[in-house]
Amino acid sequence: MRDPILALLAKEPAHGYELRQRLMAALGPAGGGLNPGQVYVTLTRLERAGLVVSETVGQASQPDKKVYELTAAGRDRVVTWLADVSWSKVAPVEFHLKLVAAAATRLADPVALVDAQRLELLRQLRQLQEAALAERPDADGTLLIEGAALRLQADIRWLEVCEQRWDGREPT
């Protein structure tokens, strides 16, 4: 969360509400999962870390607002973040171990586990697709949905491979 917010500030100084709006626009439907206070908490942390500085601007009819600006260290950090190639992993290790355990113990049928898991993933895929259909096709947020949908499809394909492996196999 810190890095994306820092990066949104790299274009020009902004106050918290503006940043939140920019973030919501970039996330599209996925922005619904965003905690409203998260941006403000993050900005406070970034300031403490010396990555941003703030200036309080008085407003006539509303409470003062804080406008945040990147420091040089903050800018370096954004550049480093953009170049970083680490990738959050979707690791279905636990499901794999369930199948191994089911086959070994006969406490559950591995193929039935695959079926139940596939249904759950198909339901999630459907939610994503319905969200995408409700958006303008060229909205930035739909790219995020497309990515999530493609990952789900890969997981569903992997379930097919699991099924082939475990279907009819005797416990070891």
């Binding site: 994306p4 759950e120 198909l122 999630q124 994503l128 969200a131 999530a148 082939q164």
Partner: protein
């Protein structure tokens, strides 16, 4: 309400290498009016054969089949050919358009076969192509169209005689991601318009949009599960979750 498609104990056997293969091994199935049903299953599970049986492209060795309440498993080849023109619309993976005919001519062909006037057939075919977003391509031969456009023309052809049911066999199997998205949108529109639809597919994107998912294995089908219920986890909430994961 009478089911649009109702099968009981459908069986289809093939003579394999020295042994009889039961490709469809006693399938019971009911598709309600306006319902979208998808059938998934591993390759060779019999799902394409099932679709062929439901549309009369193959005959069952045993069992009963009713379409729109009419018993059809005993129809002759000729009777099926007549019934199919108005009762069933097919959509195939490889589109199966007539290469020598333009898009609009492909679409109006089934209407002409059931005796519509040229004028009426052309009017309805053009209207459908417009509705499916390929009206501007009406005068093109299939080889001038993209895969997605060809499939939309094929869907228009399947719809022209207002069939009881549209049977689709891997409709997105030859399409890229974007064209698949167009077909998904199209099926969602058909569903909203009350068209009954049965789709055999490997594609999770297509399968997930159905009202009900049937799983087929070794020629046998399960009772089906509704897909419009809530998922345990909301994938959208996960997406927006940018909470810091280590590092600062």
């Amino acid at each position: 309400m009478t089911a649009v498609v109702e099968a009981r104990g459908l069986v289809r056997r093939y003579q394999g290498d020295g042994e009889v293969v039961r490709a469809v091994d006693g399938v019971d199935l009911a598709v309600e009016p306006g319902e979208t049903v998808s059938v998934m299953g591993p390759s060779g599970c019999g799902k394409s054969t099932l679709l062929h049986l439901l549309g009369g492209l193959e005959r069952p060795d045993a069992g009963e089949l009713r379409l729109g309440g009419r018993r059809v498993d005993g129809l002759s080849e000729t009777q099926w050919a007549v019934f199919r023109r108005q009762g069933v619309g097919f959509v195939f993976q490889a589109f199966h358009l007539v290469d020598e005919l333009t898009a609009v001519e492909n679409v109006e062909l089934p209407a002409l076969l059931v005796g519509s006037s040229r004028h009426d057939a052309r009017r309805r075919a053009s209207g459908l192509l417009d509705r499916l977003g390929v009206g501007a391509r009406a005068g093109h031969l299939p080889d001038r169209l993209s895969g997605g456009e060809r499939q939309r023309v094929a869907v228009a052809r399947a719809l022209i005689n207002e069939p009881l049911v549209v049977l689709a066999d891997e409709p997105t199997g030859n399409l890229d991601s974007r064209a698949t998205g167009d077909i998904l949108r199209l099926f969602a529109d058909l569903r909203a318009a009350g068209q009954t639809l049965l789709i055999v597919t490997h594609d999770p994107r297509v399968a997930s949009m159905a009202d009900r998912l049937l799983t087929m294995r070794d020629g046998v089908i399960d009772g089906g599960t509704r897909l419009d219920g809530g998922a345990f986890a909301s994938p959208l909430a996960d997406l927006g979750d940018l909470a810091d994961r280590g590092g600062a």
